[in-house]
Every structure is written in C-alpha cells, then in structure tokens.
Amino acid sequence: MSTVITDNLTGKTAAGNVTITSEGGSATMQLQQGLAKAWFTFNYTAAQDSLNISSVTDEATGHCFGNFSSSMGNDDFAHPAMTGAFRTRYEGTGPDATTSRTNTIETYNSGGSSADDAIINCTVHGDLA
C-alpha cells in the first residue's frame, strides 16, 4: 500500500476536477461533486459543529437557515435535513435558497405547530462558486 501525503489535491488539467474510481471499479466520478459542500448541526442556541457555515439564523420559533462561508455556484443544490424529535420540512413561504444560504428549515410538532427542536442536521450537495 502506498500513501501520498499532501495538503491539497488539485486537478492537473482543470483545477476543480479530480476523477476517482468506484468501489467496484466499473465507473468513475468527479471527486469534488461527491463531497458535501456544507453541513451543520444546530440546536436553536448555536451551530454545534459545521462545515462552511458562518452562522445559523434563528428566524422564528421552529424556523432556521444556514449561511455559507464560501458561496455556492448556484441555488440548485440539494440540502436534505433531519431533526430530532419533531418533523421537518422546508418552509414554503420563506425566501428560496440562494448561493449564500439554505432554504428555511421548519420543524413542527405532532399538532402541526412550529416548534424549536434540539437537533437540526443539514447537509449541502452541489457546486461551490
């Protein structure tokens, strides 16, 4: 087994494109596309841990969204979220996701009322600027 020790990986032909081989060896994919570009875990007090998140905005009871440190390349990224005790959805009347923030994540209780949850997890997949 060989190990390459380096601080950065950069595409030789195009800086943002490094190809890796699938586990089964029959396919290749772009390394950058498969990496989460941001994630955070939030408890309505603070972002407990995160990647590429400058802050999490607490909009209102049961409503929050993440702000990116490094902007996304467009607003068509996927960002599934999961919460602890309550149900989750993306709030329909709030602003859409932009290159600098996620959609508003809404958590609500079994009665259908918005409520803060102690655990909000969100990952972001797409293109960085």
Binding site: V18, T21, L31, D76, R87
Partner: protein, 146 residues
C-alpha cells in the same frame, strides 16, 4: 504546504479506488422539481420518470454495487410554486417514501440503478395522505458503486 496535481486518482494497481481517509463521497444527489418535471441540479442521475402524481423513478447513471447497501436521504419543500404558497393540508406533515410498497402498491423496490420515491401528505383521521407534486425534493444517496 504541498499541492498534489492529478486528473485521476487510483490505487497502486492502476484501477482500484483509492482510500480517502475521513471522507466518504456522496454518490448521487438531485434537486428535483416535481411540478415542472425539471432536474435543477444533479450528480450521477440520468433522468427522472414522472410515473404519476407525486411518484417518480430516479435513474442512476453509474450503478450501485448492491440493491440495498446504501443510505438515502430525502427532504422536501412544502410548496408547489417555488415558495409563493404553502400546500393546503401541509400542517398534517408531508413525507417522502423512498423504498418499499405503499398502500397503493405504487412504489417499486430499490434496484442498483433506480430509486423510486413519492411525495405525499401525512395521514389523518379522515385521509390516508395522497400523493402530490412538490416543486423541490432533494434526494442524496451514499454507498458503494459497482
């Protein structure tokens, strides 16, 4: 600081995948508009077939190595018009169904190249929760490719 420049990374045998310590790449993601049947952004997705209201088949370009050994994450948006209006009845909760058989037997099992999923209302005392189209559904999956 050092920088390694390469276009392709493989193991020393010339073909096997290289181990990325502390990293596991997502193998598929999509931002799907089920109202306009539009793939807004994606990775490793060939197409999405609109099977019926709220039911879709996602076709994967490079196959997974197994039918079940993967994690699938979904979240949806409770609007059919990009945020202008919350879906009526959304207070019951909405959900995505990604595998198995629902009450109408319309959701097919997973295959190595497909994920069939549905968007539906939650159930209530008077409704089972019908399928309906939403303007944004995010589906990501992680596992071994073939």
């Amino acid at each position: 600081m050092s920088t390694l420049k390469a276009d392709t990374i493989v193991a020393t045998d010339g073909s096997s995948p290289v181990t990325l310590t502390k990293q596991e790449a997502v193998k598929q993601w999509i931002s799907w508009d089920g109202v306009n049947n539009d793939i807004e952004g994606s990775l490793n997705v060939t197409s999405v077939i609109d099977e019926q209201t709220g039911v879709y088949t996602l076709n994967i370009t490079s196959a997974y190595s197994s039918q079940h050994d993967r994690c699938i994450f979904t979240t949806l948006y409770n609007s059919n018009d990009d945020g202008a209006t919350i879906e009526s009845g959304s207070g019951r909760g909405m959900g995505t169904v990604v595998v198995g058989t629902n009450s109408n037997s319309t959701i097919d099992p997973l295959t190595t190249t497909t994920i069939q999923f549905a968007t539906a209302y939650g159930s209530s005392a008077s409704s089972q929760g019908g399928m309906f189209d939403l303007c944004k559904v995010w589906v990501t999956s992680i596992g071994d490719l073939a």
